[in-house]
């Protein structure tokens, strides 16, 4: 079984996620990109789990899915509140933390 395909898929997904985080202005899309990054990590974990025949990789993947769900929940709640205040979820508008 070739492991490199899995790793390649993970790397592609990671790059797409990073691209989305850096380039997209829509907050929801940024959150989705973060999900992509997390899942690329999951794929890597699963690939090595299969290769070394070790269950702990799959266990970590399950944890990450659970944590990602919670993270998306918090993130969407923030986006919702931002929308309520600004009627807009463009990240360009959210520069109050400028130093």
């Amino acid at each position: 079984m070739l492991i490199s395909e899995f790793l390649l898929l993970g790397a592609v997904l990671f790059c797409i996620g990073v691209y989305g985080v850096i380039v997209r202005k829509n907050a929801v899309l940024v959150l989705m990109s973060i999900e992509l990054i997390l899942n690329s990590v999951n794929i890597n974990l699963l690939a090595f789990s299969l290769k070394y025949n070790d269950i702990s990789g799959q266990t970590f993947a399950l944890y990450i899915i659970a944590v990602a769900a919670a993270e998306v929940g918090v993130g969407l709640a923030l986006v919702l509140l931002i929308y309520r205040n600004k009627r807009n979820i463009s990240l360009d508008e959210l520069s109050e933390m400028k130093g």
């Binding site: 985080v21 850096i22 380039v23 997209r24 959210l94 933390m97 400028k98 130093g99």
Partner: protein, 824 residues
């Protein structure tokens, strides 16, 4: 060890003996109570009785409590002595009638003291204890001090009523007695020093009680410093004894070289180095010279008259001056061994010589005094000389007995003098000017005075006879013939000067204030010195002005002014007497104004004054019968004298004689005859000099040159004060101060100025280089750096989420790259 001996001898003990420390603690508590709340307490009236406020009641009550405790202690000590079955028999020989048990132990009839000792602190391997040591000597002195102090405090209630520092007076008086009790109770030398110094401090406070008058504070300082000179000897002596006796004392279970029993046993043991014990004894005796007013440090005692009369009375009878005699008696073995007392063939030793000189010179000085208190002061000095001489010739018991009897009659005499000034002579102590003929006006005072004078002179059947004559007799008996003659001459002189004082005070024509003429008449008589102090009085009712002396010869004497008050307060004015007047007006004006409205002229004192007088006069007569050798009464010897044993020298053993002389009327005859002669001669001379008739003796000291010189020599107190102040103090102080001034101006100032200049220069350099450049540079530089860094980093903080993400991931990429590079 003590317990074992107690058990062996079947000696009884008791609560009072075990808790004797309370005797000294109670006045201490009284002192703090007076200080803390005394001023807030007002007089309380209960029916016709007035309980005085101001805290004086704490003083009286604590002294009374001490007296009760001391009486209990004395009673139980006597029981203890009786339980040992020890009696000295008529001949006073030890070993004749002691119990078999004690004889088997070879202890003589020595009654072991009751010692309670607590650790005070430890340092350098030495344990300093504090505790009580009750034996016959401390028992009798405790009783004496507590008794006299109680009477003096009662007397002071009246004498100092309305005084401006009434509360402080009683506080100091109580602490004074407490200090003496602490010292008497002591079981070790450190505690003796403690009590000794408390007394020194209190005597300073009390002598300078009316310190507004410069002469009073001078007298207080003089007393303090003169005694301090001796105190150096105390410290040196205690140190010498400690370092010499410590190993012996520790080895034999006495704790340390401070322990009194240890010191006494060491001095007796024969193992002591003679050099150490000699110098220890000499150093300690110097302390006693200072404290007990022995020649040549006696000069402070007469000046101590500047204090209120109750203070003089307490100080001269039982408290301060007895301390030195007590110390010698307390560690007598040290002196006995160190100064070779009673060694066969020795006719002189330091203690006896100093005591003998003191007897004669002080008695001679008493003849030229015009101040009644000064006569008594010199008489005290002279009697202290008797005590010291007694100790010096080995007459331990008579010397201690003389402390005992002397306390009563001397206290009584002083209180009589106070009574005269209080009610008879309008606050004057001048016999020649303000007294005379008072015997009819003040009968109680006169009677008490006569009884005490008889006791002081040693008239047979009065107490002084039984004690003083024993000393004289023992000096003869022990082979000290020179001191026997000195004692006899002293007895003659004592009678003579007391006759003179009595004549001037109570007989003849009333003069001055005693004749009822005070104030104006008195003032007119001294016109040249009259000083109008109306203004001073307006500001300060008790104003006392110091005044220049008429002659420079006695400029050093305390010249005190007398300010007087007249009946009408509005008409207060004072006149200042430039003579040696001692007393400053002290009492409340209003009180005296009221009093003088009722009583013009001399009158008898109120009961608070006369009752202590009568009690003391009775004791002045009766106390002698505790040890009346003439009637074979030896109670005092039985109770007090610790003869023989490990802790006390077997006096007279070396010469194989009895410890004390057996009384024979034949031996007493010379002194009795001399007393009579002294009285006869003095009375005759007094009448012819001071009497009314124009006698050939009148003004004799002015007419005949040798007599005039002698008078002047005595009047100036042998020029000892001049020697001390003008020659010794100035001789030491002036070169020292001149050298110190030169050193100050040239060396110290040079150093200081040089250091100042150098410091200024180096300061400037540091300012320029270190402060301005380094420090300020650092501070400013760090500020600038922070500002630059901030402005450089500010763009990074854009607030844009995407930029943050890019930074995050590029950092992660760099980190990954580094990781890969490092791992490959």
């Amino acid at each position: 060890m003590m317990l074992a001996q107690d058990a062996a001898a079947n000696l009884s003990s008791g609560w009072f003996l075990e808790h004797a420390w309370l005797i000294a603690v109670v006045p201490g508590i009284g002192f703090f109570l007076i200080l803390a709340v005394g001023k807030r307490i007002r007089d309380i009236k209960v029916g016709s009785l007035t309980i005085p406020g101001g805290g004086s009641m704490f003083g009286v009550a604590s002294m009374a409590a001490s007296l009760v405790l001391a009486a209990g202690t004395a009673y139980q000590w006597i029981q203890r002595v009786d339980s040992a079955g020890a009696t000295h028999g008529a001949l006073g020989s030890f070993g004749s009638s002691i119990t078999g048990m004690l004889r088997a132990e070879g202890e003589g009839n020595y009654i072991t003291p009751v010692v309670k000792s607590y650790t005070w602190w430890r340092q350098g391997g030495a344990t300093f204890t504090i505790g009580s040591h009750i034996d016959g000597l401390s028992m009798i002195i405790l009783l004496l001090v507590a008794f006299i102090s109680t009477l003096v405090q009662i007397y002071s209630l009246e004498y100092l009523r309305g005084d401006r520092r009434y509360t402080h007076f009683f506080a100091a008086l109580t602490l004074f007695a407490g200090g003496m009790l602490t010292m008497v109770l002591a079981d070790n030398m450190v505690q003796i020093i403690l009590g000794w110094e408390i007394m020194g401090l209190c005597s300073f406070m009390l002598i300078g009680h009316w310190w507004e008058d410069a002469a009073n504070s001078r007298a207080a300082l003089k007393a303090f410093f003169t005694v301090r000179v001796g105190d150096v000897g105390l410290l040196v002596g205690v140190s010498i004894i400690f370092f010499s006796a410590n190993s012996f004392a520790t080895k034999n279970g006495f704790g340390s070289g401070f322990d009194l029993q240890g010191i006494n046993a060491w001095a007796q043991s024969g193992t002591a180095s003679h050099t150490a014990i000699l110098w220890g004894a000499v150093a300690l005796f110097i302390a006693c010279i200072g404290k007990s007013g022995q020649f040549p440090l006696h000069t402070w005692l007469p000046d101590a008259m500047a204090g209120p009369t109750p203070v003089s009375s307490l100080l001269h009878s039982s408290t301060m001056v007895v301390a030195g005699v007590y110390l010698v008696a307390r560690i007598y073995p040290v002196f006995h061994t160190g100064l070779s007392i009673n060694v066969a063939g020795s006719h002189f030793n330091l203690i006896a010589i100093i005591g003998g000189i003191t007897i004669i010179i002080a008695a001679a000085l008493a003849f030229v005094q015009t101040d009644i208190k000064k006569v008594l002061a010199y008489s005290t000095v002279s009697q202290l000389g008797y005590m010291m001489m007694g100790l010096g010739v080995g007459a331990w018991t008579p010397a201690v007995f003389h402390i005992f009897t002397h306390a009563f009659f001397k206290c009584c005499l002083f209180l009589c003098a106070g009574s005269i000034s209080h009610s008879g002579s309008h606050h004057s102590f001048e016999m020649k000017k303000d007294m005379g003929g008072l015997r009819k006006k003040m009968p109680i005072t006169f009677a008490c005075w006569m009884v005490s004078t008889a006791a002081l002179c040693g008239v047979p059947f009065f107490s002084g006879f039984f004690s003083k004559d024993e000393i004289i007799d023992n000096a003869h008996h022990a082979g000290y013939n020179v001191f026997w003659i000195i004692g006899l001459v002293g007895a003659f002189m004592t009678t003579a000067y007391m006759t003179r004082a009595t004549y001037l005070t109570f007989f003849g024509k009333p003069r001055g204030a005693a004749a009822g003429e005070h104030d104006d008449a008195h003032g007119d008589a001294h016109d040249p010195h009259d000083l109008d102090v109306d203004d001073a009085h307006a500001v300060q009712p008790h104003a006392v002005a110091a005044h220049g002396s008429t002659t420079d010869d006695h400029a050093h004497q305390p010249v005190m002014a007398m300010a007087r008050t007249v009946g009408d307060v509005a008409d207060i004015h004072g006149d200042v007497d430039a003579s040696d007047a001692e007393e400053a007006v002290h009492a409340d004006d209003a009180h005296h104004a009221a009093e003088h409205d009722v009583h013009h002229g001399p009158h008898e004192s109120p009961a608070l004054i006369t009752v202590p007088l009568v009690i003391l006069a009775v004791l002045a007569f009766g106390s002698g019968y505790l040890n009346a050798a003439a009637f074979s009464i030896h109670k005092f010897t039985d109770w007090v004298s610790p003869i023989g044993g490990q802790f006390f020298p077997k006096i007279g053993e070396a010469s194989g004689e009895l410890p004390e002389a057996a009384f024979k009327w034949v031996n007493a005859l010379p002194s009795i005859l001399l007393v009579l002669a002294g009285f006869a001669v003095s009375a005759a001379v007094c009448i012819s000099i001071y009497g009314d008739t124009a006698a050939p003796l009148k003004g004799i000291t002015k007419r005949i040159a040798p007599l005039r010189w002698g008078y002047k020599f005595l009047f100036n107190k042998y020029y000892l004060d001049v020697l001390y102040e003008k020659i010794i103090v100035h001789g030491v102080a002036y070169p020292v101060s001149a050298a110190a001034y030169w050193f100050n101006q040239n060396v110290l100032d040079g150093i200081v100025n040089g250091a100042g200049k150098w410091a200024r220069k180096s300061g400037l350099w540091i300012y320029k280089n270190v402060d301005q450049r380094v420090v300020d540079g650092t501070v400013n530089g760090s500020g600038a750096a922070a500002r630059g860094l901030g402005s450089a980093l500010r763009p990074v903080q854009s607030g844009k989420v995407n930029q943050y993400g890019a930074l995050l991931f590029s950092a992660a990429a760099v980190a990954a790259l580094v990781l890969i590079l490092v791992n490959t």
